[in-house]
């Protein structure tokens, strides 16, 4: 059998890779891709805690479905923001989006 630590360490590693991507990528779409990596790491944690705890208590799976819904909403709004910015400024590089700087 697989001990729960394998899942937890894998998701910690995946979360760290996603965090690094959010911090370093220049392209706004690539930042959103890295956010998806982090959300997936969270989902793996939630489902593995469901499986290794009491399987009759569905809280873990329900929470991961909520995470799915939030991820879908975040991607839809995020990508439409990126697209709208691209039409106005003709760029998706996060460094060049400095309209709110003074």
């Amino acid at each position: 059998m697989i001990p729960i630590s394998w899942y937890l360490f894998l998701s910690a590693a995946l979360f760290s890779v996603g965090l690094f991507g959010v911090l370093v990528r220049k392209n706004a779409i690539a930042i959103l891709l890295s956010v998806e990596l982090m959300l997936n790491a969270v989902n793996i944690n939630l489902v593995s805690f469901w499986r290794y705890g009491n399987t009759a208590d569905m809280a873990g799976q329900v929470f991961s479905i909520i995470v799915f819904a939030v991820a879908a909403a975040e991607v839809a709004v995020g990508l439409s923001l990126v697209y709208s910015v691209y039409r106005r400024r003709n760029t998706v590089i996060a460094d060049e989006l400095d309209m709110m700087k003074w």
């Binding site: 059998m1 697989i2 001990p3 729960i4 630590s5 394998w6 899942y7 894998l10 910690a12 590693a13 995946l14 760290s16 890779v17 996603g18 965090l19 690094f20 911090l23 370093v24 990528r25 220049k26 392209n27 779409i29 690539a30 959103l32 891709l33 890295s34 998806e36 990596l37 997936n40 989902n43 793996i44 489902v47 593995s48 499986r51 290794y52 399987t55 009759a56 569905m58 809280a59 329900v62 479905i65 909520i66 799915f68 819904a69 939030v70 991820a71 879908a72 909403a73 991607v75 839809a76 709004v77 990508l79 439409s80 990126v82 697209y83 709208s84 691209y86 039409r87 998706v92 460094d95």
Partner: protein
């Protein structure tokens, strides 16, 4: 080594290497395709954890909808589909140090926990996790409120993204 352990290790290596490719790939369409590999690995893990419904939803929603939406967004926003310069910020060593601190903190907290070697109990005979998930989602004693809030959130995101992306002339 049991077969499930071998499947887990192969999936984990595949997921981590493709996640690194997502973060480092210069070509954005390639990054989105590597993200699909990672998401598929997560679906394999959900199947290993016997969360069958979540595994199916992972393939349908994440790979089928979200990843494809990313590819469309990449194609809509980049003329040459490629970062000409370095895809990373100038400050990436600082980010690497910060990420290492977070990873070490997470790992040390995990190592301090005493339930690490816990293994899963086999499912009870005749237990249907999909049925109990459905019951939990619509039962007033359980999670009907978060379920409804999630649907309102999706509606708001639908309207909001259409409004933001609309060409107002």
């Amino acid at each position: 080594m049991e077969p499930t352990q071998i499947i887990f290790l192969v999936t984990a290596i595949m997921m981590l290497s493709s996640a690194v490719m997502v973060v480092s790939s210069r070509h954005l369409v390639h990054a989105a395709l590597w993200l699909i590999v990672t998401l598929f690995g997560a679906a394999v893990l959900f199947a290993l954890l016997e969360a069958t419904f979540i595994a199916v939803i992972q393939v349908v929603v994440y790979i089928g909808a979200i990843a494809i939406m990313f590819i469309f967004a990449v194609m809509l926003t980049r003329r040459e589909l490629r970062d000409s310069a370095d895809p990373w910020n100038k400050g990436w060593p600082v980010a690497l140090a910060l990420t290492a601190v977070v990873a070490v903190t997470l790992g040390s907290f995990l190592l301090k926990w005493d339930g690490l070697l816990k293994t899963s109990q086999p499912m009870a005979e005749g237990y249907d996790s999909v049925a109990s998930l459905g019951t939990a989602l619509i039962s007033p004693d359980a999670f009907v409120l978060p379920f409804e809030v999630a649907s309102v959130l999706l509606l708001a995101a639908l309207l909001g993204s259409v409004y933001v992306a609309m060409n107002k002339k």
